[in-house]
Symmetry: C2
Amino acid sequence: MTTIPCPTAVALLSGGLDSTVLLHHARQSLVSGRVLTLSYNYGQRHTRELDCARWQAERVGAVEHRVIDLSFLGELLRGGSALIAGGHDVPNLTDLAPEQLTQPPTYVPNRNMMLLSMAAAYAEASGVRDVFYGAQAMDQYGYWDCTVEFVERINRVLSLNRNDPITIHAPFVTMKKTEVVKLGLSLGVDFSHTWSCYRGESKACGTCPTCVERLTAFREAGIPDPVPYA
Amino acid sequence: MTTIPCPTAVALLSGGLDSTVLLHHARQSLVSGRVLTLSYNYGQRHTRELDCARWQAERVGAVEHRVIDLSFLGELLRGGSALIAGGHDVPNLTDLAPEQLTQPPTYVPNRNMMLLSMAAAYAEASGVRDVFYGAQAMDQYGYWDCTVEFVERINRVLSLNRNDPITIHAPFVTMKKTEVVKLGLSLGVDFSHTWSCYRGESKACGTCPTCVERLTAFREAGIPDPVPYA
């Protein structure tokens, strides 16, 4: 993994596993100064992820934690995703047909360009040139906006800025989730304050696509997942 | 100007001169089916533009007109633009130093990537592949996100989508405002229901950068601007 030293940075923080480990990694190794964290409420089925994001932002001493309210997306996108309240039901991974995996029901149309464009605007207005984005390699199967090419092409757009251009860094984009868990362990991340499950219940379901990936990653890393499962 | 025939489209509509003429051009010449119009409230100093947008959307029989509330941008961007309530004062064009012209105080950080990413998401969720965007050549002096390269690079990002990719069309990006006015005239556009002035007064100021450009374009086109000036 390449080192990306920068004086100060914006970290996109969903409260899930990947963005949380990236936040700690950035704070401990990559950013010499302050970190600003940015979360989004886009009409997720629950706010548990957002609660974890706030907890982790405090944990690393973020100088500012912002939550942008994008709850209008549910209506704008006509409920067109299982991740948005009012959309499809969240599927079990085992119920998905192979051809659904390249763009699963949990895909949100053009989500990451929207999120990164706002993060870049926030960074620019804050005098910050670097944005950390927790996309990791296992998301690439189903999400074109979690790929290496996507990040490269977004940066090609941003490079046109006549002020100091913003750069999006996605150091996990070539790493498997198991490696992210191991890195988090070495950094002392408290995984009990992360949330990945797509369903809005009090315990993680253990069967939706992201739960299956998360459980596999912890098993491969050789440690138990501290989050409660149904 | 290249013809871009498409069955149906989303048109970004600010209520200003360029996006209004593009809407009429698209409806009369480019789109064989329905048009969906999309406007943004991003904390502009006044709603006059948005009133014009709604009027023009009805005029062309848009099947849907949406206004996304992005009023959080004022706070997110720390008031960092003269176009946002609470930001800098709107300057007169004659008060701007030459070096300010490449990124003037009316620049909104990364605005157009934010707006286009939401328009593309809306189009995708609506089953529409084409988005019309009214950037025109005279904006390129001060806005990197109104350039040919910007539109090309945004389309390079969007082309990665594994569904039918969305394409942003900016047919005025190589045209001067005078040509846009002339085209609007030939299409019967009612310019009294367009609004360009950056200041939030009941009459257009006639001295801010966009008023100066607009007045010049009408003079060069040889017709009076029907909008009231102070």
